[in-house]
Symmetry: C2
Subunit: 341 residues, 2 copies
DNA sequence: CTGTTAGCGCATTCAC
DNA sequence: GTGAATGCGCTAACAG
């Protein structure tokens, strides 16, 4: 393999100057830079990453860590996430590493090892929870990270998020405007920050309309089709006063609700109205639901690019927080799954 | 961070000796080793990977490369694969890296970059095809790799595979024994080595029974539920002489076949018999098909551990090929999806 | 603009 | 058994 030394010999320059030319330093004559670049190309020079890392103290690698397999998100989402991140980090010359720990390991232990051994320069945090230990640890150790979501609405860390409180508020308000007053919400698992944000939006919309918050109508489940099915069966079949509308945390849940309603011989929106938030996952098309589903929508797939960019900036340092935070756009799409009562 | 130098100072030993003690060299007194180990633990010594890499010339990282996003396998399979590999490589102290290239890149270019920059010490190759360019490249450059499958039945490289020819032969023979003579095979996409192996097994079983090979009955499709559905609709509805039995490359395809048969108002096994190979994916349970599906089965999830082990051995070097190759066990499970004709 | 010097942390000669 | 010396390939002071 060609090294800097080889290049310097071939060019009659010092190793230092070759290094500077290659790294785009300003104090190199244009002519020299030309020559060096060309020689590098001809001799197929590729920098030795290990050496660079040793001297820079960085690994050039960022990672996504799962404590264990059961923590890995459901299928499509995982593919979207890993592929999207891998792709965009590559654009920033960062290696992307997936790390799945063992069941037995403590959550933070995995992070500690990765940080201490300088294996990773930065982390991607998914599904932040309230008082997230990972975030606390990385903060304390001053390790760069970017969060998909926020630790809190005013979090002082790099993140990409959507306005989840607004999403839930919007959906709830829409139903209220159509005359609904018994509105169920099949939300995600509690302690996830976005779930809490949505709960706030839901509660606020109800309060604004003078509707009492009924905790039996707000359920926390894993955001899967089967959970949606189970919960709506409960609503439809077993509840004394059946809700007239259901808000679903995502389209998977909505799918389950559709199936349950159909199985019960009821109809949407005739017997029950349904709305959801749509992450625009590849596998589900809320427009092709029958009837087409009214949703708030934001493309999850568009979050990876800013995430990668923000983490790259955090690692480079010197960027103001504002350039490492973004609230993605959300649109409200009215279709045919809501009836006026 | 604690370095070897710190340890040596604290212990009054030379850096060399500390290094030797930590790395389990034989020429270190037991007493010294004790002391060093203890000090390392107390001072929380963690070797600097970059330094180690620089001197060893290795990256300590292995990877799975996809040319681009469209090459990533369907959902569940991808999760199984990445999580399984990541987990078992960790046991061998190898970092696992997922790399998804850009659409525009040449297949080999990605590998070349990764090899030349010494980013990866070894590769995992999935879905080998006949005359696989990746395998050719890695061989030529003498880079360690392990294949899920084989380049050819007698391949001289590390691999984990099952006997795909035998699988297809077994399924076909079973149908023949039950009197079937028009047997369709919904196989995977051509050029994949396992698809060709299965085709051989299928053809051989037919030949042994004196049944002419009818190429219109052997179709190559992506191994998805929808493809299974489409192809069997073709068989059932449009074919002059409908096949009495269908062999499916996996349970996804079988699912599609079941749906098509049901949609056509026909029954399994009354109107058509169905068998499949079952990778025992988490999401599909062939036993709970209606009727329960007769299959050959092998657990895909059991392939990651040997794969990781074999690649680790290939990187370490000095292992005979036999210790880096394995044919996983396959069982035949007869259930209720085949009728005697 | 360019070259010299030094050192990142570690493992491996080679001596004793 | 142990230590001193050397170098992996690269970048960052420091001089000129």
């Amino acid at each position: 393999m060609t090294t800097l030394k080889d290049l310097s010999r071939a060019l009659g320059l010092s190793v230092t100057q070759v290094s500077r030319a290659l790294n785009g330093h300003s104090d190199v004559s244009a002519a020299t830079r030309e020559r060096v670049m060309e020689a590098a190309k001809i001799l197929n020079y590729i920098p030795n990453i290990a050496a660079r890392r040793l001297v820079s103290g960085r690994s050039g690698t960022v990672g996504l860590v799962f404590r264990n397999r059961s923590e890995v998100p459901p299928d499509t989402l995982f593919v979207e996430t890993t592929c999207g991140l891998s792709e965009f980090f590559a654009e920033h010359d960062l290696q992307f590493m997936l790390h799945v720990g063992r069941l037995t390991d403590d959550e933070i232990k995995v992070y500690r090892r990765l940080v201490d051994s300088r294996t990773l320069d930065g982390f991607v945090i998914l599904n932040p929870v309230v008082d997230d230990r990972r975030i606390a640890f990385l903060r304390e150790r001053e390790v760069p990270f970017v969060v998909h979501g926020r630790a809190a609405p005013d979090s002082a860390h790099p993140y990409f998020d959507i306005d989840n409180e607004e999403v839930a508020h919007r959906l709830t308000r829409h139903l209220i405007e159509r005359g609904h007053r018994r509105i169920a919400f099949i939300n995600g698992l509690r302690s996830l920050t976005f779930v809490e944000a949505r709960q706030r939006g839901y509660a606020r919309a109800l309060a604004e309309a003078g509707i009492a918050y009924d905790e039996t109508l707000h359920v926390a489940v894993e955001m899967t089709e089967s959970a949606g099915l189970v919960e709506s069966v409960r609503f439809v079949a077993h509840m004394a006063e059946r809700p007239t509308a259901v808000i679903c945390g995502n389209t998977r849940i909505a799918k389950g609700v559709y199936r349950a309603v159909e199985a019960a011989g009821l109809s949407i929106p005739g017997d029950v109205s349904v709305v959801a938030h749509d992450d625009l996952l590849f596998e589900f098309d809320s427009e092709r639901f029958n009837p087409p589903l009214t949703v708030t929508a934001s493309a999850l797939s568009e979050s990876w690019k800013p995430m990668a960019t923000f983490l790259a900036r955090a690692i480079d340092g010197g960027y103001p927080l504002a350039q490492m935070q973004e609230i993605g756009r959300t649109v409200f799409i009215e279709r045919a799954s809501v009836a006026t009562v």
